[in-house]
Each structure stands twice: as structure tokens, then as C-alpha cells.
């Protein structure tokens, strides 16, 4: 089997598998009538996952520390969000802080 065919098969399996993972929730939700409490728990679980994603994406890269520029940028953005700054300001400030720190030689 040529390398290209192997690669094509790998992308196909990843695509089908990813779609199946995405479909679990919507399909099962319809079959089973969930009590109010379970619905709340599901939303809460998604929030916890997103929060953990924020932390790992901000601080780590390939299992190690991501360097100082990125977490500093996220921290600035996060503080602005905390002070209820507009979304646009939060995102630009995070990116600009990280970019300027890197320009100054911070990894």
C-alpha cells in the first residue's frame, strides 16, 4: 500500500471517529430523557473541560512549560475579562502582550 493511500485511510478514520464522538451527545440525549439535574451536570462538565483547556493551552506545550510570553498574554487578557472589558479588547491585549514579549526576546 502506498504512503498516500495509508495517509488517506488515516484521515478517513480520524474523521469518522471524530464525528462519532461529536454525535454521542446529540444522539443519546434524544433517546434518554434526562432529569433536570443531569442536564445541569452536563453543562457544568463542559465548563470544567473548557476551563482545563484554557489552563493547559495557556501554560503547556507538548507536555512541558510553554514559556513565559503566552501565559503572560493570557493573564493580561484574563484580568481584562475579569474587569469586564469588551471581548475585542481582551483578545487583542492577550495576543499583543505575547507578541511584544517575544519581540523583546522573552520565549
Amino acid at each position: 500500500m502506498s504512503a498516500q493511500v495509508t495517509l488517506l485511510a488515516a484521515v478517513a478514520v480520524l474523521a469518522v471517529g471524530t464525528y462519532a464522538l461529536r454525535a454521542c451527545g446529540p444522539v443519546l440525549r434524544e433517546r434518554v430523557r434526562l432529569p433536570q439535574r443531569a442536564e445541569e451536570a452536563m453543562t457544568l462538565a463542559a465548563v470544567l473541560l473548557l476551563a482545563a483547556l484554557v489552563a493547559t493551552a495557556a501554560l503547556t506545550e507538548a507536555g512541558g512549560f510553554a514559556g513565559w510570553a503566552r501565559p503572560a498574554g493570557v493573564l493580561v487578557g484574563g484580568l481584562l475579562a475579569w474587569r469586564k472589558a469588551p471581548f475585542v479588547v481582551v483578545v487583542f491585549a492577550a495576543a499583543a502582550t505575547a507578541a511584544l514579549l517575544r519581540l523583546a526576546g522573552v520565549p
Binding site: 484521515v11 471524530t18 461529536r22 451527545g25 446529540p26 457544568l44 463542559a46 470544567l48 475585542v88 483578545v91
Partner: protein, 240 residues
């Protein structure tokens, strides 16, 4: 197509502006994905096909990274699926905004971190649905255009770290989940979840530490029950 256009037209101004900003940032990251993949010697079709059919940025970067480093394709697929496993709980949380019939099947494919976070940040159901679809469909278009551009243009923007976009992604998600985190039970559980994820990151394969954050769920549920019980006790009993 027309219903997507209607969704976009019906979008409140503030939401449209916020979503547009995320589309722009992710489009540029898409350019870098296309450029990095092709410049690491992989075929031109790979980044474009993967972006269309997988449509999950983190898993795509990981998949291509493993393949480009000469890794086993099976390992690359498994690593990608592990990163995407968080879509299972996401699906339960936002399943109600997908609708039925073909919309549900299309909407399922548009489930990504950003569309889920935008939906969860809205209070009313109608706004939740609009936010999910606008962000999901908009990102599908921008991400794929960006990837194709990067794949053809080569190394134009291969390092988005220079632009600080790697810091923008966590900031976007943080700003969107923040309203939920201000509730004390959720905030406490999120802190516990973050601690679990960070502590296990050096030890476990990518994707798994984030999933383990769900272990903090009982913290939030117990906390909520306790504070509900306390407010009940504090409420003076009606006397005869």
C-alpha cells in the same frame, strides 16, 4: 445555505463582532496549519482534506505533527481521537441547539471548542442557538479558506506565535466561560479541574489531562447542594 445567511443576518451586533474576531484569529491559525503541513513535506491535499472532514484544529496539528515526524499513522489517529474525546461531554451540553433532521447532522460537525463556548456563554435559548451556528458555520468557512491559502502560499505565515495568536485562543475561551465561573460552586470545581489537568499534563498523553478535569464535577454538585440547604435553613420558617 440560505438558512446560514439568515442566521448571520439575525445575529445581534455585539455577538456578530465577537464571533467575527474569533473567525479572523482562527483563519490565520488555519493559514499556519496549511503552511506547516505542506512545508514539512506532506502532500498538498492532506491539510485541506483533514480540515474539511475532521474540522478540529488541535487534533489536526497533533495528527500532522506525528506523521511529519515519521510516526505511525495508527498512533497519529489514536492521538487525534483522544484529543477529540472532549466532544462527547460537549455534545451533551449543547445538543439542544442543533435542531432536528439534516440540521442536527450538520450541526454535529460544527461542534468545536469555540462554538460550544459561545453557546454556553449565552443565557437565552434563541441566542445560544444563534451563537452556536454563527460561530460553527463561520469557523468552518474561515478555517478551511485559511488552510487552503496556507497550503498554496507555503510558508507565508507559518509561525503564528509571532502574532501572539497562541495566547489569543485561551483568552477567548476564558472570556466566554468566565460568567459561568463567577458562580462559586462552578468556580471552585473549575479550580480543582485545572489543578488535576495541569498536574497530569507531564505524565499523560495530550488530551487526557483535560478530560480528567471532569473528575471535579462532584465538587460543584456537592457544593451547590450544600449552599442550597444552607439558604433553606436561613430562611425563617413561617410561624403560626
Amino acid at each position: 445555505m440560505r438558512s446560514i445567511w439568515r442566521t448571520w443576518r439575525g445575529l445581534p451586533r455585539d455577538l456578530a463582532r465577537d464571533v467575527a474576531l474569533v473567525l479572523l484569529a482562527d483563519g490565520i491559525v488555519g493559514v499556519s496549519f496549511g503552511a506547516i503541513t505542506v512545508s514539512s513535506g506532506l502532500p498538498l491535499w492532506l491539510p485541506m482534506l483533514a480540515s474539511l472532514v475532521v474540522f478540529a484544529g488541535a487534533s489536526q496539528f497533533l495528527f500532522v505533527g506525528i506523521i511529519a515526524a515519521g510516526g505511525n499513522p495508527i498512533a497519529a489517529v489514536l492521538a487525534g481521537l483522544l484529543v477529540n474525546a472532549r466532544h462527547v461531554p460537549f455534545g451533551f451540553a449543547v445538543g439542544d441547539v442543533l435542531g432536528s433532521g439534516w440540521r442536527r447532522w450538520a450541526g454535529t460537525h460544527l461542534m468545536i471548542d469555540e462554538s460550544v463556548a459561545f453557546a454556553l456563554a449565552q443565557r437565552e435559548y434563541a441566542r445560544r442557538r444563534t451563537a452556536y451556528w454563527a460561530c460553527g458555520a463561520g469557523l468552518f468557512v474561515c478555517w478551511n479558506l485559511g488552510v487552503a491559502l496556507g497550503a498554496f502560499a507555503g510558508t507565508a505565515v507559518s509561525d503564528t506565535d509571532v502574532l501572539g495568536l497562541d495566547a489569543a485562543f485561551p483568552a477567548v475561551l476564558f472570556a466566554l466561560v468566565l460568567p459561568s465561573l463567577r458562580e462559586r460552586a462552578t468556580g471552585a470545581a473549575a479550580l480543582a479541574g485545572v489543578a488535576i489537568a495541569l498536574a497530569t499534563t507531564p505524565l499523560l498523553p495530550t488530551g487526557l489531562p483535560v478530560l480528567l478535569a471532569v473528575l471535579a464535577l462532584p465538587v460543584a454538585l456537592l457544593w451547590r447542594d450544600r449552599s442550597k440547604a444552607e439558604t433553606r435553613e436561613e430562611t425563617p420558617c413561617p410561624r403560626r
